[in-house]
Amino acid sequence: MYKNSNSFITLMSGSKIFLQQVRALLAKDLKTEWRTREIFTSMFVFAVLVVVVFNFAIGADTELIRQVASGVIWIALSFASVLGFQRTGQMESEEDSLQGILLALHDRSALFIAKMLAQMLYLLIVVLCILPLCGVWFRIDFMTCIGELCATFTLGMLGLSIIGTFFGMIALRTRACEVMLPMLFLPVSIPLTIAAVQATTQLIDGKSLRDIADYLVLIGIFDIVFFFLVIIVFDYIVEE
């Protein structure tokens, strides 16, 4: 408990070495991703696959498709993000580099924050690529509410990244990690999914920011509560 209050204090005071370490970790992850483009490609392709299959499964009724569009997009993103979270954790288990990082880390939450930010970035890029495609396939004009949509997706992806990165590091140490990660992550993120899908549907239907404020507040609270909870317990996950 003493160590965890230390995390809080470091986080709050934004000490220089902490930020420098987060930057170094983030740079390393982004550099590796830029060279291999593994995470982004697998997430994007999988998301597209899910959207297309759903499209066929629902049928040709354009009105129906329009109504379920936001649900389909969020499901595609949730499932695709699972691939990213797994890969993020796996990167540190080759050559056990997690131990190397722990030796250099002043405060372990720097590792979590860097990984979470990297994941959030990849997810946002996937969203940027997939929205135009969905606009074309589902015949929805996202441009009318693009600002509010950005806010919703950013908050939503932040929440997914927090929970997903955390469970990704846990699931890595299980025998059936491809199965455990969705099992852990999807039920816990149900409030996020409900709120995000409702907000998106209402935005598509032409409602304004004021109407979806409730949902955004819910997502915001989800993000804040789990961010702090995860930071507190992260130490227990990584140390022996």
Binding site: Y2, N6, I17, Q20, Q21, R23, A24, L25, A27, K28, K31, T32, R35, T36, M91, E94, E95, D96, S97, Q99, G100, I101, L102, L103, A104, L105, H106, D107, E239, E240
Partner: protein, 231 residues
């Protein structure tokens, strides 16, 4: 410099260490010898703050490793079975990453310096995936000494190294020794270990069963001693 008192470690039902007492002065080089399963790796990992002891106290340079871990870690250089390196980055970038994590100043110069010490300057800008095992081990050594550690912990450092790399490592240890860096090394290699270290210890089944100086002990005598204790 290094004090261990009554250190015990359980992993679930397995007891890896059953009460280790060890003292080491600054600037000495200790070689820990022992069979597999003796707990040498566990001992080094406890010293490296990667594992918490179940009981006992460990202090390095006056800091308790459990309570003041953040103060201890910058002083340590760790070399382990795994290299802690990233395959998709170049050698230079790997060192740059660790340098930034430790907050080193004048990073570029220091990287060049350690690369020269391990003889990897020509390969610095190739991806680590393309390195041979020996080259990766050498880069790992460079990583371990990058931040001027006061205590170097080496777990089986000679595995995977060819003759050329072994002599380089030996020179490096001697050089660090001269700069009053403390070294603790665990190895199976009696000959090389004896050569490099000035103090020796034998660990067996979680306890230190012998502790002495290596000066004046030749290899055959030491082998007999080792067999006597380990059986």
């Amino acid at each position: 410099m290094v004090h261990l008192k009554g250190v015990i470690k359980h992993f679930g039902t397995i007891t890896a260490l059953r009460g280790i007492d060890l003292e080491l002065k600054r600037g000495s080089c200790l070689g820990i010898f022992g069979p597999n399963g003796a707990g040498k790796t566990t001992l080094l990992r406890i010293l490296a703050t990667l594992v918490r002891p179940s009981a006992g106290t460990v202090s390095i340079a006056g800091y308790d490793v459990v309570k003041e871990g953040e103060k201890v870690r910058p002083l340590l250089g760790v070399l382990s079975h795994r290299t802690f390196l990233y395959g998709h980055l170049t050698g230079y970038e790997n060192l740059q990453f660790y340098g930034r994590m430790f907050g080193l100043k004048k990073l570029a110069e220091r990287i060049t310096q350690v690369l020269q010490a391990v003889d990897l300057v020509t390969y610095a800008h190739q991806l680590v995936r393309t390195y041979s095992r020996g080259m990766q081990q050498r880069l790992a050594i460079a990583r371990a000494i990058l931040h001027y550690p006061k205590l170097l912990l080496l777990d089986e450092p000679y595995t995977g190294l060819d003759k050329h790399a072994v002599s380089r490592l030996h020179d490096l240890i001697v050089h660090l020794h001269a700069e009053s860096c403390t070294v603790i090394m665990s190895t199976h290699d009696l000959h090389r270990g004896l050569d490099a270290c000035d103090e020796i210890a034998i660990q067996c089944r979680g306890k230190i069963v012998y502790r002495g100086l290596s000066l004046g002990t030749n290899v055959q005598e030491f082998e007999q001693l080792y067999n006597a204790y380990v059986g």
